[in-house]
């Protein structure tokens, strides 16, 4: 068994070693050696500006995570327990913000919370606009990550508690919450890491007094050419992430309950009482304000033309403007997204198998290591590729590097969504099959795979969205020019007079994300009967 685990773990370890640890270590050493390492660390610790950057980075990440859960957890519950008209479409919509380029999100946020706000509130220059943008972006992680786990928990456990006299609140705190614990911890870790290393949102919506370590690393490398200070900052960032991940790892160490697993269709019901209807309606209304209104703003801008309203911005995307056409941009994006999803799924599943079935310390350490790419500086990884990947095969400008950079960010999503599902599979099922003489491979295919495939589908949707948005180090590598959708949007926004076209292309990007999310919904529905 140990040998088998080693064989399964080998590919993910090699992949992360070569494409994450090696480039990052190389650039950090190069950076520290470019100056005096001691004084670089001293500068970071003593400089009041850098200290305030570090403090701001930490507290805005905590605040963003708490706020995202405040909105996302009730929504996850509603989607997990109630059926109502438009449920799948609504759920699919929550993934849409995740793919948007920063400038598109900034456009929506400034339209709603800037100088021309219809609500009369101008939040520019405050931390609130950053926090709200973070909630808008990361809501999907909570709704989908926790929700997909929640809907498989048998509601009769909660009902039993209620029958035995527990109040609703006590049932939630003492029954539901402990059951959800692994999924909640996973989602919290992901949201925290994303916001802790936030770059684009903070760069566009923040200012000099609201800036993260990641933005400061970018400034130090590109503007001041202080690779030594940047390396010291990146190490502090990594230490912070390491501490958080250590706490996460300890917290998720509790014994995993073997849950009676229920297909999602069986746990859904219509809201019955007036109270339930109010709760469902109210939660959806909050979600609509936070997700649907900003999306509607972008759609509105895409339909605004010089002469009024119309589809000119869309139709003009079918004849080349600045070398951009919509079909071409979508095709280029898919050319990276499909390999990225395949690589992330392959590596992520192998990693998840070894984590879920390896109960000892190795599995836990590896689990934590896998999350590190989310919390490490994408700016430095991008530089790391340049200094490390020239030998033996020069991969620095190879097209394969782009899906690989995407999958570094996407793998944790596959792992996080898969491991809780794998661990929840009852040993008794497997043992029963083994007693009946079924081979381990067949047991895996017939019992584990149907359950796991749903969880993988959730992770794969995120992997797709991460690739479509070109998340992570991709923005910081040297690449062969290929007009993907984010590149095209940036180019259109980079010349006066093409704002409407950029908005139209952003709306198409959202459409692509919605289609992917709906496809996942359909896939999940289709496999429900396997159990």
């Amino acid at each position: 068994m140990r040998l088998r685990t080693a064989a399964i773990i080998a590919l993910p370890v090699a992949f992360l070693g070569y494409f994450f640890v090696y480039p990052l270590a190389t650039i950090l050493l190069t950076g520290l050696n470019s100056g005096d390492a001691g004084s670089a660390f001293a500068a970071v610790v003593t400089d009041p500006i850098l200290r305030s950057v570090a403090w701001f980075t930490l507290w805005q990440a905590v605040a963003s995570t708490v706020l995202t859960f405040a909105v996302g957890l009730p929504a996850a519950y509603v989607f997990a327990r109630y059926s109502f008209p438009g449920r799948s479409v609504f759920r699919a919509l929550t993934l849409v913000p995740f793919v948007l380029p920063t400038l598109a999100v900034a456009t929506a946020m400034l339209a709603l919370l800037g100088p021309t706000s219809p609500f009369g509130i101008d939040l520019r220059g405050t931390v609130w606009i950053i926090l709200i943008a973070h909630v808008f972006y990361n809501l999907a992680i909570v709704i989908r990550g926790v929700g997909s786990f929640w809907e498989h928990i048998d509601p009769s456990i909660e009902r039993a508690a209620r029958v035995l006299g527990a109040s609703r609140i006590r049932t939630f705190l003492e029954v539901t919450l402990p059951l959800l614990r692994p999924a909640i911890l996973s989602a919290a870790a992901l949201v925290f890491l994303f916001t802790f290393t936030s770059f684009g949102v903070v760069l566009v919506l923040g200012d000099l007094s609201h800036t993260t370590i990641e933005v400061e690393i970018w400034r130090q490398t590109t503007s001041f050419r202080r690779l030594d200070i940047a390396a010291a900052l990146a190490i502090f960032q990594l230490v912070g992430v390491g501490l958080i991940l250590f706490a996460y790892s300890r917290a998720s160490q509790v014994r995993q309950l073997q849950l009676p697993y229920r297909p999602s269709g069986e746990t859904l019901r219509r809201p019955r009482t007036a109270g339930e209807r109010w709760f469902v309606g109210g939660t959806l209304a909050v979600l609509a304000v936070i997700v649907v209104i900003p999306i509607a703003v972008l759609v509105g801008k895409s339909l605004t033309t010089a002469t009024g309203f119309g589809f000119e911005n869309y139709t003009s995307l079918f004849t080349p403007t600045l070398g951009v056409t919509a079909p071409n941009a979508i095709g280029n994006t898919l050319r990276f997204a499909i390999p990225a999803v395949l690589i992330a799924t392959l590596i992520g599943m192998l990693a998840a198998v070894s984590i879920a079935y390896e109960r000892g310390r190795i599995g836990r350490v590896f689990d934590t290591m896998l999350m590190l790419p989310l919390g490490a500086s994408a700016v430095m990884i991008g530089f790391g590729f340049l200094v490390a990947l020239d030998e033996p095969i020069d991969l620095r400008t190879s097209v394969i590097l782009i899906p690989i950079a995407h999958s570094l960010v996407a793998i944790p999503f596959i792992v996080r969504s898969t491991v809780p599902a794998m661990r929840s599979i009852q040993h008794r099922l497997r043992e029963a099959a083994a007693v009946l003489g079924t081979s381990p491979a067949v047991v895996w295919r017939e019992i584990d795979l149907p359950i796991i495939s749903r969880a993988v589908a959730v992770g794969a949707a995120f992997a797709f969205a991460i690739s479509v948005r070109e998340f992570g180090a991709t923005a910081f590598i040297v690449r062969r020019t290929s007009t993907t959708i984010p590149v095209a949007i940036f180019r259109l926004l980079g010349r006066p007079g093409s704002f409407g076209r950029a908005m139209a292309l952003s709306v198409m990007l959202m459409g692509l994300a919605a289609i992917a999310a709906l496809a996942v919904e359909a896939l999940r529905g289709a496999t429900t009967g396997d159990i």
């Binding site: 800037g114 200094v387 394969i400 590149v487 006066p496 007079g497 704002f499």
Partner: protein
């Protein structure tokens, strides 16, 4: 996942990795910044003429590109680098990034754009200038500013948006224009000027994209401020992409900063002959006349014909600020740090 699918994906991934290119003389690699754009047929004509394919690399904005070229100078990513401007030129030269080359076309370039030692070849130039929203200022009954100093008047309070010089190339150009205009010493230095701008509620964005599209009220901008740091060629771009007859924005010709973009052959190139041919081609009329409507800057070759929209709507300021690249390189970090301390 079944084992056969697993191994198929692994094999495909390895195959793709193995297919990454190895340098040869039938290919020349051109590294540029993200704003670079050329019509496809222009590059394919070069291939038809010479048998050499051009591979384009995009390497971030101008500053990021130079930094990446420096980081990889022992084992360069490309044969030619295009888009290093006068604000980063000294840094690139002091790092010894380039092999000198005197292009066969260089005599068609005005002397004031050229590098005296031909270490780099000028390809285009443009002016960073204040742009105004014509209708927006008229509605407020305010005249466009005639000088940079005007912007500190109470009438202009809350009207200006500029870019952060530590993250934006036009932002740096504007800072340099204010330093050149007001000087480092005297009764009223550039520091005093920026303090007054801050007191007059200047808005600072990280990049041109956010400033022009999201804060500026003119043209395609959806913001509220009628004055922005942009380019002298922004009005013709508004006319061209908006399919308009008249430009909705106008250029303030005082306090403009001239950016000159150069191409250079990277030391360590494995195809110097191809690199030379490409630099010559970048200065040829075919490429030069393709520049204005793609990158919205002026061609360096004085014989290149300008498109009508440039002739009718572009402004060329009479006396743009120019600054010695060495002076920029020696002071840039200090200036940006001082600027940040003032506006923070």
């Amino acid at each position: 996942m079944n084992p056969r699918a697993t191994s198929a994906i692994a094999a495909a991934a390895l195959l793709m990795a193995a297919c990454s290119s190895t340098p040869d003389t039938s290919e020349v690699v051109l590294m540029t910044h993200d704003s670079f754009l050329v019509s496809e047929e222009v590059l394919s004509e070069f291939t038809e003429d010479t048998g050499i394919t051009v591979v384009l690399l995009q390497a971030g904005d101008a500053g990021a590109m130079v930094n990446r070229a420096i980081l990889t100078k022992d084992h360069p990513l490309a044969d030619v680098l295009y888009g290093v401007d006068n604000t980063f030129l000294s840094l690139a030269l002091s790092e010894g990034l380039f092999i000198p080359y005197r292009s066969t076309e260089i005599d068609r370039v005005p002397a004031e754009l050229r590098d005296t030692e031909d270490r780099v070849t000028p390809i285009d130039f443009g002016d960073v200038c204040l742009n105004t929203d014509i209708a927006g200022l008229a509605a407020l009954d305010i005249d466009p500013p005639a000088t940079l100093r005007d912007l500190t008047e109470p009438a202009y309070a809350g009207l200006l948006v500029v870019e952060d010089p530590s993250t934006s190339s036009p932002g740096l150009a504007f800072l340099l224009a204010t330093i050149d205009t007001f000087g480092e010493e005297g009764d009223y230095t550039w520091r005093d000027y920026w303090r007054d701008l801050v007191a007059n509620d200047v808005r600072i964005t990280p990049g041109w994209e956010a400033a022009y599209n999201l804060e500026f009220s003119g043209g395609s901008g959806v913001g509220t401020r009628p004055i922005v740091v942009s380019y002298a060629t922004s009005p013709p771009a508004e006319v061209f992409f908006g399919d308009l007859d008249e430009a909705p924005t106008s250029v303030v010709t005082a306090g403009c900063f001239r950016q000159i973009e150069y191409a250079g052959i990277l030391a360590g190139t494995s195809n110097e002959q191809g690199a030379r041919l490409l630099v010559d081609y970048l200065l040829s009329l075919r490429f030069q006349e393709d520049i204005p409507l793609n990158m919205f800057v002026f061609p360096a070759n004085r014989d290149a014909a300008l498109p009508d929209v440039f002739v009718e709507h572009a402004t060329v300021p009479d006396n743009p600020v120019t600054m010695d690249p060495d002076r920029i390189d020696q002071n840039r970090d200090r200036w940006i740090a001082e600027w940040a301390a003032i506006v923070r």
